[in-house]
């Protein structure tokens, strides 16, 4: 009885320490974000007042100014177009690539697979100059097509690698069942493999999206026209053109964070949902 009590006590205290640590971490990471949201909703006059006005003076004026007085909406649209197209291109290529890397036998397959990851070892700063020269020769600098191609080639090795792992763990029996059922390879890919690999494909697209969405370096080097700029560099322009208008900047930051937030919330759902269950014997 007593031992059981002690055991229970130990279990509970372990639990509470764990939760305490978790809570600390959440607060530590969360406060800057909350402060960002808080700042974006305050007029400039009260931002630096002390003690901070927590319960009053809320306004959307920063957002209104952001949309009307700056190129923010243009940057936002550009970011969505560039990141979206890159992800689609990336995932289509990586899906077919990863599938063939796991399903076909050819000479140098393993080497090829390793080499793709090897390319990922170069820091972006090392390849930006060659990429610039290449795109310049093709006449694709300062264009969305150019930067989409650049982003795709940077993110492809890693997405390919991630998807390869997903396809490797995919039971080949299901595909064989599809062949017997009368599907050809493309049909089995579309109807059986991809629906199964969807959690992996979504997780991978999120990864690619976030990398591209947040990229500063390539956009800075490759894009010069204002109407083509993506958000990270656009924000810097806003920052430099104002006398540090914190309310404006923070409202922009809030909007920039939203896609990332949505994406992470969606993949969470997909990653937790064990789709593979019940495929083969349970």
């Amino acid at each position: 009885m007593l031992t059981k009590l002690i055991f229970e006590f130990k279990r509970l205290s372990f639990r509470s320490v764990l939760y305490l640590c978790g809570a600390t971490l959440v607060v530590f990471c969360g406060i800057p974000l909350i402060w960002m949201l808080f700042t974006s909703l305050k007029p400039l006059e009260v931002l630096f007042s002390y003690p901070p006005a927590i319960f009053s003076h809320y306004t959307l004026s920063n957002f209104k100014r952001l949309f009307t007085d700056t190129y923010f909406l243009v940057y936002l649209k550009n970011s969505i177009v560039v990141a979206g197209t890159t992800v689609i291109l990336d995932i289509v290529i990586a899906t077919f690539g990863a599938y063939s890397l796991t399903r076909f036998r050819f000479v140098g397959k393993e080497l090829l697979a390793s080499l793709t990851l090897f390319t990922y070892m170069f820091a972006p700063i090392m390849i930006i100059i060659p990429v610039y020269v290449l795109l310049n020769d093709l006449g694709l600098t300062d264009s969305h097509l150019g930067i989409i191609l650049a982003y795709t080639s940077i993110s492809l090795p890693f997405t390919l690698w991630l998807l390869r792992a997903f396809f490797q763990s995919f039971p080949i029996d299901l595909e064989e069942a599809a062949f017997i059922d009368g599907a050809n390879r493309f049909q089995s890919l579309v109807w059986v493999v991809i629906p199964q690999a969807l959690p992996g494909i979504i997780a991978t697209s999120v990864f690619a999206f976030v990398v591209v969405w947040n990229d500063f370096l390539f956009a800075r080097v490759l894009l010069t026209s204002t109407h083509l700029k993506t958000m990270p560099i656009g924000l810097q322009d806003i920052y430099e053109s104002t006398i540090v208008d914190w309310g404006l900047l923070m409202s922009a930051a809030v909007i920039v964070s939203i896609p990332a937030l949505i994406f992470f919330l969606t993949i969470q759902k997909f990653l937790i949902k064990g789709w593979g269950m019940g495929a083969v014997k349970g």
């Binding site: 064989e176 069942a177 062949f179 017997i180 059922d181 599907a183 059986v192 495929a279 014997k281 349970g282």
Partner: protein, 366 residues
Amino acid sequence: MKKLVLKNISKRFGKVVAVNNAELEIEDQEFIVLVGPSGCGKTTTLRMVAGLETVDEGEIYINDRLVNHLPPKNRDIAMVFQNYALYPHMNVYQNLAFGLRMRKIPKAEREPKVIEAARILGIEELLERKPRQLSGGQRQRVALGRAIVRNPEVFLFDEPLSNLDAKLRVQMRTELKKLHKRLEATSVYVTHDQVEAMTMGDRIIVMKDGTIQQIGSPSDLYYKPQNRFVAGFIGSPTMNFLPCRILEADSQLYIETGDFRLPLLDHFADKVRERGDSKFILGIRPEDIREKKSVQPSSFGGSIKAQINVTEILGKEVFLDLTTGENTLSALISAEPEENLGQEIELEVNLARIHLFSADNGNAII
């Protein structure tokens, strides 16, 4: 017309010869069972028929059509996998309908077929469920349904019952047999369970190390095994094997094991004499041994004195584990013996049912 013909099929994986020169003809509506120990090449054979594995040598014909280079979808076969391989993201209805959909059967025609297959297998209530919401037995039925819905030329089964519990397995065995009668479909059924093979097969193919050992009806394999391997593989408990010599006394041949001696029936004698050599392996099935005191006249004879090690009462029969001198012997007798453990019991053997195998290559002589 032969439904399925394999001509000298071989398959290698690197140095491993998975299937070696397999030769096989299957009649229309036949239920053929492919049986053998693990790794003997059963699955590989089946997969070559299905088109999931390429053929290194030889030819496969389905309905007299050479199919070696046809993809699975053009062979008109259905296969039931050991682990069912149901599509987890589709519900039962969609699983059943998938094959029809891929074959471009219009939606209106699909539905009655799916419903009919579901009705035959008793899974109409489950059509809306996903595979993960089904029990093992139900998944098994869905996997069968996916095969029968298309009405293919040949059914291939790869150990479809091995994931079910013992009771369900026996039940499904009977059901599969009934299903086969009803659909009259040519079937090739792979198992490593000899009981399953014996109860289900019209004909049985026994394989070992990629080579077909014998093809025959269940009673052929049981009464006339062509070699020691088949004799040992078919039948439970396993046949007793004892090294022996042939002696002649007063123009009567005897089998001498060192511990006991059995007279050889006259109609076996010629075959043994032909051989010339004198070293053999004697094979006796446990069920061909009985207590000496049994009185009914029969082909039983000889006398074996053995010590009882273990007695197991199996219900109608009693299993004995015995020692005779150097050898151990198992016997299946009809009643519990009066002798106790450790005591000696006198037994006799059904002389018409004994087997002799060559000591060199294991081939059957009688």
